[in-house]
């Protein structure tokens, strides 16, 4: 807890860290408060189709006359929800597998890493699309597909940290005085994994949001009526010359959100691992 507040303080001192934290906080607030702050429901046809931005409809309306601003606010909810749960799935599985592979090494390690190499042998978006062919479309399957794609990168990060932590003197001492494997892993080795794991999680969030948007853009991720920035952009393609606002705003929100997560990830890496700072 003390370490967490210190990290937040260090991040706050870094201008980029401050921008990242405040920006993401804003996106989270938007996502949570969407039903209260959005002027209209995400699926309600509230005006003429393709109406330009006005005082009533800040970002205009889409092909079906739905309020683009409201849909973007609800879309933030979907993006974050999918991103957080997908990374949660990938991080948890990757953490456990990485801990086991790094600690036990030998054949257990070889089998786990071979499976990870196989998963790594696919371009990530292709693997996500491929898995979603089995799981189906919609929020749940998309989360699981992106979660599976994220497992190898977490597993590798954790495994590397565990292997280097295992050689540390205090870990060796703890082992020699008879600390049990479980306690050794959780109490003594895990704290060494926190820094690279946290940085990885932040960066994975941005790539999960990006993968969800890409899948939804291709029509394989979130399905109507759930609003997603990716599917909004896809729907806007056919009408964007007549109604550019339908494409510009979702695109900007995708870009800015991913940018904020990357800014925070970079700042976090500098704070937690100053050796990497150039």
């Amino acid at each position: 807890m003390k370490r967490l507040s210190q990290t937040i303080r260090d991040l706050w001192r870094d201008p980029m860290g401050r921008i990242g934290m405040l920006g993401i906080l804003l996106v989270i607030v938007i996502a949570i408060l969407a039903p209260m702050v959005a002027p209209f429901g995400p699926d309600k046809m509230v005006a003429l189709p393709k109406a330009p931005p006005s005082a009533e409809h800040w970002f205009g309306t889409d092909y079906y006359g739905r309020d683009v601003f409201s849909r973007i606010l609800y879309g933030a909810r979907v993006s974050l929800e999918v991103g957080i749960i997908a990374v949660g799935i990938g991080a948890t599985a990757g953490y456990v597998l990485g801990l086991i592979a790094g600690y036990f090494e030998g054949w257990v390690d070889r089998i786990i890493m071979c499976i990870m190499d196989i998963l790594f042998a696919f371009p990530s978006i292709l693997l996500a699309i491929f898995i979603s062919a089995v799981l189906g479309r919609g929020i749940g399957p998309t989360m699981v597909a992106i979660g599976i794609v994220n497992i190898p990168v977490f597993c590798r990060t954790v495994r590397a940290a565990v292997i280097s932590a295992k050689g540390l003197e205090y870990v060796q001492n703890a082992k020699s005085v008879g600390v049990k494997t479980g306690a050794l892993l959780i109490r003594h080795i895990s704290p060494n994994v926190v820094a690279p794991f946290t940085v990885q999680a932040t960066l994975a969030l941005s790539s999960a949001i990006l993968t969800e948007a890409s899948m939804s853009f291709l029509g394989l991720g979130i399905q109507p009526p759930d609003p997603s920035w990716g599917s909004m952009l896809s729907e806007a393609r056919s009408i964007m010359e007549q109604a550019p606002w339908t494409a510009v705003f979702p695109a900007l929100f995708i870009i800015v959100t991913i940018l904020l997560f990357n800014i925070l990830g970079d700042a976090l890496r500098d704070v937690l691992d100053p050796k990497l700072k150039t």
Partner: protein, 314 residues
């Protein structure tokens, strides 16, 4: 080096085997069997059995897998259940488009990223460095499809320019082909240039700190010689490893960009296969892309081992 190459190639065998098993298993898990996909759910059991026998789907999974992988090893990827056309020739034709897109994008990204990365390292902590870093961050963060849509929008609204439709092969009409490929390649190239730029910057900075550069400078060599003749040559070595990883992003990115620009590449073939539930096609395309990716990574690793004499792999 020779031993390393042999070991590295041998290591690939379980990975390639695993990839093929994974793809086969995933395709078998797809809800809604192939037969219902072709005949519809109301087909008679006799008709279903006939079709199952035709495609060999009535045999045990292990036999089906061995049959499929045996065919793949002989260059027979099976045939599409929609068009009955053999899959491999179609994959090879479409791969030309994806390969051209990927190679062009990679070259564009190096042309943008390497000079800017070097510049940022040499002018560290100046306005130029900051500009390059912001550009790199944007490059890493802007998804290819969002950039494509925004660019098409700007070009069409401001310049009344629309990307040409209808694909023409490089061998038929090189100029028209280039006209078509340049915009998608540039978008793909820009979207991956951020990571190359970052890598180049940190790699050059790392080399510039080393003693041999101090010696070069102490001997009176100009800054240009120190940077371009000595630092850059060494700094480029780790960047090569990035190329392997980049190919993955590029192949993935190509799936989306091909869709936006209506390019008949492998990505588009995969997506059409998924949407039409043409599973042999999806199976073949995904296997082919994964093999290409693994092969490029192998070549990158071997190249890395070959050009960096400091590393011993034996």
């Amino acid at each position: 080096m020779k031993n390393y190459a042999i070991r590295r190639i041998l290591q690939l065998i379980p990975v390639l085997f695993g990839i093929s098993v994974l793809i086969f298993a995933v395709m078998k898990m797809v809800p809604g069997d192939v037969i219902s996909g072709i005949l519809g759910i109301e087909a008679t059991p006799e008709l279903r059995a006939q079709l199952a026998a035709k495609y060999g789907l009535d045999r045990p999974y292990v036999v089906q897998y061995l049959d499929w992988i045996g065919g793949v090893l002989r260059g027979d990827f099976g045939e599409s259940i929609r068009t009955s056309a053999p899959i491999l020739p179609e994959i090879l034709t479409r791969f030309q488009v994806t390969a051209e897109l990927t190679i062009l994008a990679a070259v564009i990204s190096w042309f943008i990223a390497i000079p800017l990365g070097v510049l940022a390292a040499v002018k560290r902590n100046t306005l130029v460095d900051r500009f390059v870093r912001v550009f790199a961050l944007l490059g890493v963060s802007v998804p290819g499809f969002a950039l494509s849509i925004l660019l098409i929008l700007v070009l069409s609204l401001a310049f009344n320019y629309f990307p040409p439709l209808g694909y023409v092969s490089l061998f038929e009409d090189p100029l028209r082909n280039l006209q078509m490929m340049i915009l998608p390649s540039a978008i793909l190239g820009v979207s991956i240039s951020g990571s190359v730029m970052r890598m180049t910057r940190s790699s050059v900075l790392e080399v510039l700190r080393q003693d041999f550069i101090k010696t070069v400078r102490a001997k009176g060599a100009s800054e240009r010689v120190a940077i371009f003749k000595h630092a850059l040559r060494n700094a480029l070595i780790p960047i090569i490893t990035l190329v392997g990883m980049q190919i993955g992003s590029l192949l993935g990115g190509a799936v989306i960009v091909e869709q936006i620009f209506s390019l008949p590449g492998l990505g588009q073939m995969t997506l059409t296969g998924i949407n039409q539930r043409d599973y042999p096609v999806v199976q073949g395309c995904v296997l082919f892309i994964a093999f290409v990716y693994v092969l490029v990574n192998l070549i990158t690793d071997l190249l890395y081992a070959y050009i960096d004499p400091r590393i011993s792999y034996d």
